[in-house]
Symmetry: D3
Subunit: 290 residues, 6 copies
């Protein structure tokens, strides 16, 4: 994630405003004394959000310092210290919940992603995410997905064009839609077609799409279909248009992910690390001595 972008700064303001509202009522008890705290993992998992946690605390106290004990995307065990932070008491109290909430949520996603990705190890097939992300957190959740070893799919409706069921139903067919899109969208944007049948998949390949999303097709059928599509891609191209076709299996059952890995697809996409994951529990412990 590119922490330079103004969007990140605005999101942190939004998150803090949400929790602090008109101001932490208990800050009256605290002074500007500097103190330190550590985060302890209460279960094992994959860590995600270190650079963001640092930015959150520094928004409240410019001189706050974070020291990460676990690498971004690295594994931790229950009971392990994952980071320490030093800063003004009022800043540590004010940023505690927001930073923990973010880290617990994102680490939950990274952990679940890693769980799926590890089942694809050695297959050459990669796991991709989807646009099923919590409103307001897409950048962050997709970042967590990468921390867990996954690969991002398109980020929004604007950086790649996907022809879905409805687009096709409303148009004069896949080929015309792909051609029409090629005329209108930036040439740097890929076109992907969602196919639910063999026929649609073939038409998509012939149409010159950059990728085909094979939706809810069982592994055994995919195993037969994939080589057909790849051959079609080669033969349907002319000198100037020899083309690479990316094949992706979607709408899968995560428990059967290994079956899909042997079908020859390039990617398997799954929303489950984001829509079906629990938060990882971290606890913030203040150094009483200070």
């Amino acid at each position: 994630m590119d922490l330079q972008i103004p969007t990140i700064n605005n999101l942190i303001d939004l998150w803090l405003t949400e929790d602090l509202g008109r101001g932490d009522l208990t800050t009256v008890l605290d002074d500007d004394e500097v103190c330190s705290a550590i985060w302890i993992a209460k279960q094992s998992g994959i860590f995600c959000s270190g650079p963001l946690v640092q930015k959150i605390f520094q928004k409240l106290d410019k001189s706050a310092q974070i020291s990460l004990e676990v690498d971004e995307g690295g594994a931790f065990k229950s009971g392990q210290k994952v980071l320490s932070v030093t800063g003004k008491k009022s800043a540590l109290l004010a940023g505690e919940r927001t930073s923990l909430n973010l880290a617990m949520h994102l680490s939950g996603i990274a952990t679940e992603t890693k769980h799926l990705v590890s089942q694809l190890n050695g297959t050459g097939v990669r796991l991709a995410d989807t646009r099923k992300t919590t409103p307001g957190l897409r950048l962050l959740e997709k970042y967590a997905f990468k921390c867990g070893g996954g690969m991002n799919h398109r980020m929004g409706l604007d950086d790649a064009a996907m022809l879905k069921e409805n687009h096709i139903a409303w148009s004069r067919g896949i080929s015309e839609s792909v051609q029409s899109l090629r005329e209108s969208i930036p040439w740097t944007a890929k076109i992907i077609v969602e196919a639910e049948t063999e026929e649609q998949a073939k038409e998509a390949v012939i149409s010159g799409a950059d990728g085909v999303l094979l939706d809810e097709i069982p592994p055994n059928q995919l195993k037969i279909l994939v080589p057909i599509l790849r051959k079609l891609a080669r033969t349907s191209s002319n000198e100037r248009e020899s083309r690479q076709i990316v094949l992706e299996a979607s709408g899968i059952d995560p428990r059967k992910i290994k079956d899909y890995a042997s079908t020859g697809v390039d990617f398997i996409s799954s929303s489950s690390p984001i829509t079906k994951s629990y938060w990882i529990d971290f606890s913030m412990r203040f150094n009483k001595g200070q």
Copy 2:
């Protein structure tokens, strides 16, 4: 949730910007024709987010209309139609993912909340949420918690004061902290003390706190402690300060929630409907005829 507040409008802009970015690349394929679509539930649950879904689509097309087939907070079965929407094709396509993501996430929380709440039926004890909410979605997730039958706890650090472990460690004790807060915060704001031991709980009651959060105390110990605290509250009050004390069990294991219900506490708080719930799956089906 009060949909009048400007915050809701700003959040919808944020969510749409996140998905639409520089604009839906496929809108070039669509016109301004009006079409309709329905949402089908792919599993059973408790519905949440109807008024928000309406606002999302109306942001894209002022004349879009939503018709809810399931009441907000009502139950639905797998396969059931939960709502229908009519509006411009481009608006329906542009708002599809954002509205579904929101509804699937919030309905997941409402469903999980209802699951816990139903175990408290008839006990007079209510389930409360916590500040463990996804950054940027607190208002919404707490609203979903209410839709599922739960009761909201404080909304942020500013509308009630909670003295936690660290506040107490850094101060000259519970009583002084409570008294100091009473002097400084709005008189309309309640003071709650987090207690991890019987001793702390008693001191909290005597200090005149409005509520005591009994953290990670097993049900059998709670059963003994609660009557002691209630009696203490009565006896420690003078004419002008006769007081009601709210007792809340926190840090509980959701699987044992019934054990806590019989301890005499007023509330049981749990973050699990928010931090440990899955999205409920809805599918949006466009009316092909149009």
Copy 3:
């Protein structure tokens, strides 16, 4: 006031934009030389806004430094130096009017508040503010009210529920309204009932409200009513609901505030320090030598 919250930063941007618009036309005459200036009080009063003045100047020049000669909430005499500031000439000129306007307005409120509060000294009764605040400045004016020795009432429509005349007229009575609110609002939010008659006040107490606002009831009537209400609160509570009732006199004539202090109420609320106060005059004098 919690200066950490992003809201404060945004307000300062708003205030400076309002005065600077497209930029100070006279900055072309100035360079980035550092200079210093002092603020002199032209009348006596209670000082308020020091930390905000610092933030305003630092927004224009990060290295600007303020030195407060009078404590926040402290008294000053006419002719006294209240603070000194050092920074770039262009920043001092650009921030002069905005910072003075804020400090003069807030110190006027703090001064007027102290004037009323001092009449309650020794009575145990505290002065509370209201929601009658200048649009855009509620946080600041309520902060000034506290600097003058007052106590804040609820901050908005969202952190405590007050049943007013219209709510009651539109509902099936006070008791049902209170009970209905208890079911729906966060348990940490207090419920206050505005009562204009003895009958309403009694019903409010019996309903289990946390506070009763006794509106426009003369001191001699209050003196009789208050003990009745306190007794009613004790007797109407059961074991689990023994309750503290806060009684507040509102709609008072500030000139007769002492009469209200002896009625036994806990609070007297008044908007007059905010709606009926003049600005305190400060003058900013630049050090010519620099």
Copy 4:
């Protein structure tokens, strides 16, 4: 005031957010039924803010309608109905305090302005405001000043250049400063010099300034000085630069405003209608029948 500008819309959002925060807790008691209410003046004065009140309520309910019974800038008596409003109950309750606060504050300023302006009737001298305005409300307060019959001075540091004591002290004198400004600022921007002595005033006139602000000069001295300055303006101009000089008395005692009116100045400026005015009391009464 130009209600078209986006700034007005943003301010209304800010004001409502301030009062509504996370949402009106009592809206749970209300439905979307339409009701009506009236505003009654509890004292006499000059009305100001009608179009803004309309925009506030319409922000909450697009179909809300206001009917003004008193013209903007018109006089009303105690007990008089100043406006009526019809809209959804929840919108009327949510907008009540914000709209009243604005109208009470602005009408207070308009009333006080009219009080001063009426003393200048028939003199040809007009009353001008200053940049002493409540942070965040300059546009509104200056608008109220106009409603009361006053004339606006510059709106900020960017639409006219005023050379004040410090600018002059830091430069090589008034003439050089004026000339330097003429070279750098838009030709459409006027240059005004603040003069505290006869000598400064003369130098200002000779320098070619568009206006001279005669600060804290007693009426009897002004009476002598003004004709001298006017003559100087005529004689110091050449064919191409024959010039009009605007003379303004500032730093006046409002109680002696009539004495200044006979000195020959064009304007008298005073911050007192803004910094030394009380709110006018309005009461909003809901129609119980609905």
Copy 5:
């Protein structure tokens, strides 16, 4: 351009605020009477910005109506009426300059683009834009480029990855950089390599980049290089990676654009329609009768 996105709404607010500032001083002369006006072209060209002009006027007056006499992207002659608008006088005056400025600027770009594009007619080669766009207007200027018949290149640093001179210099070579990017960026994002020599271009093709930007290579050299690169693309691909390579000529002299069109490249990119175009002159004439 997708007019649904919140960004467009925010830009219009920004543009109007810039021109209207604290409000149009002359609106005091006008009422809310409805009037109409037309736009006349003072030179020939390609029209662009109709839907935006409509949104600008409707921001000021919801009921304003635009009627376009020339299609978006269509040609007009000097003296021709391009559109008519009806709305409140104050809205037409307030939106006049902003809407004209936008349309004149964008139509200038569309016109210049068409001029270049027309030289490529029949060649199958398309003209692409660059990231050289006026800050704050990228979406709009790229939209104008499309209106003129051009094709958009990537919209920003985030929707396609381009390896430029410095990226390569800082890395361990083109192949490693491409491979490293493939691992990290969304699979839907294309990778383009900027090549200034034949050697770099070949390495780029072999590396598996999606496109090669051939920078400042003369047409005669390109004519030889292009077939070599295309052949290399075919031969360097294996079954799974048969690939399409897009070749783009950049850094060209617009006057020699035809020479590039016959080199076999797919695209020619040029910033000149944006960086080297004049505004097209339109005049807004009000219907005096109204």
Copy 6:
């Protein structure tokens, strides 16, 4: 330009967001190493935007440092180094395009302005800009106009009032309009009348306007009209209203600007440096060693 104003900060955020979107995809290749780069002019011109370039890079890397080799408003030759910048690689890459785009655009305007201004040298007549500026960039383009030696006209509809053709057509004549405006606008705001005929110009002078914009009147006619208007200004003024009238020629052909300079007008206004200028080409070269 006053860089202190929050508007500048917001614009930089807007510009960077536009280019960076969801983040620079290639930053994954870079580290936080510090490097340096220089800007080389590829043609001669007048430099403009140094302080803004510094602010852009510092937004991305607080410790970035710019060293200007050419003064703001100074001339440079083709091949000359205009500035150097040192900062983190990721910041230099992320800010490269935005800063170059701004500087190339603004320097183009400054260069074209200087070209026109140099033809007025020694005439005492100054060149003024207009409100024809690219939406979103008015402050910047007017600043560039000043860097090129021009003088700014009014900045918006709010800092000076200009009566144009339509205002006059809709009113009861010039005199009444001017008088009406004088009553309503701040006294510090000038009133300018746009005149297209001798008759209108005379009426404007008599009306007491501060300036007359003589639109599309040929030089030979202007030469006769100007002395008439100046004499009229002197004779039509009384003691209190002796007035300076500013005469401006607008709607000119830039190629004949010298002819207008000898007509006796004070200003010649032209939009051409902004609407008819090309970008100046700069190239950013990174120091490979680092």
